[in-house]
């Protein structure tokens, strides 16, 4: 087992552990911290898969902006009520998820997947390449995404605005 394999398995184990912590910790703030850890590990995977630009975006957008938003909402609402566990529901959900995982995992052994990565040039995954595809072939979806973000901003402001009672 060489070093890359070892690092992959260590990171994969940490990713699965932190994902489980997101689901099973009781305190919401602890869940958010575990989610930050999982997002950072996924960013490390992105960088190791020759996608450094996407990895940096992952850290900035997810671990930065989105998680700060989550923490703000947690502080704002201060949800101290503990959830009541339901044994029946938990076991049903567990069986369902095991079925889903059992369906997903063998799919990947079915066909002959590309075992060897395509020999990548130095430029693969660089910001230049990403920008060339983004502003070349995908310029229309890019503009639609900007409209979507504008709609999301306006919608969030309207939804979260406190309604004034009639004077």
């Amino acid at each position: 087992m060489d070093l890359a394999t070892l690092i992959f398995f260590v990171l994969a184990g940490l990713l699965i552990i932190s994902s489980l912590l997101v689901v099973f910790l009781r305190d919401v703030v602890h869940c958010a911290l575990a989610l930050v850890a999982a997002l950072l590990i996924i960013a490390i995977f992105f960088v190791s898969l020759h996608a450094p630009m996407v990895g940096i975006l992952q850290i900035m957008v997810y671990a930065g902006a989105v998680m700060v938003l989550f923490l703000f909402v947690i502080m704002f609402l201060n949800p101290t009520v503990l959830e009541r566990p339901r044994a029946l529901w938990w076991s049903a959900a567990g069986i369902l998820v095991l079925l889903l995982g059992g369906l997903l995992v063998p799919l990947f052994f079915n066909n002959e997947p590309p075992g060897d990565p395509v020999a990548s040039t130095e430029l693969f995954g660089s910001p230049e390449m990403l920008a060339k595809s983004l502003f070349g072939d995908f310029v229309l979806p890019f503009e639609i995404a900007s409209v979507l973000l504008l709609v999301a901003i306006v919608g969030a402001v309207v939804l979260a605005k406190r309604e004034r009672s009639a004077p």
Binding site: F46, P114, P117, G125, S133, L148, A156
Partner: protein, 100 residues
């Protein structure tokens, strides 16, 4: 270099954990966090395929998934805030006005 299968199985496992979180948690904020976890598992699949097929399209797809996920988080959290104002609870079981 790792085989592609390892990345796919890892992201399938993380996706299943996210589904579990959506199903069993009774706190809307944690449910939203589990959705983010599922989206990230799919992103990992995209990036792995992009690397192993030598195409940039996967990375562009991840870019768009991130934009949509950010919008989804913003609107979802705004909905959670207004629901909490209405009924002082974050339990999805309490949201049953539309229930027949």
């Amino acid at each position: 270099m790792m085989p592609l299968n390892y990345y796919l199985i890892l992201s399938a496992v993380v996706f299943a954990i996210g589904v579990l979180g959506v199903l069993i948690r009774r706190n809307l904020i944690v449910v939203l966090m589990s959705v983010e976890l599922m989206l990230n598992a799919v992103n990992l699949t995209f990036i792995a395929f992009s690397r192993y097929l030598g195409s940039m399209v996967g990375q562009v797809a991840v870019f768009f998934v991130m934009a949509v996920a950010a919008a989804e988080a913003v609107v979802g959290l705004a909905i959670i805030i207004s629901v909490f104002r209405q009924r002082q609870s974050l339990d999805p079981q309490d949201m049953q006005i539309l229930k027949w």
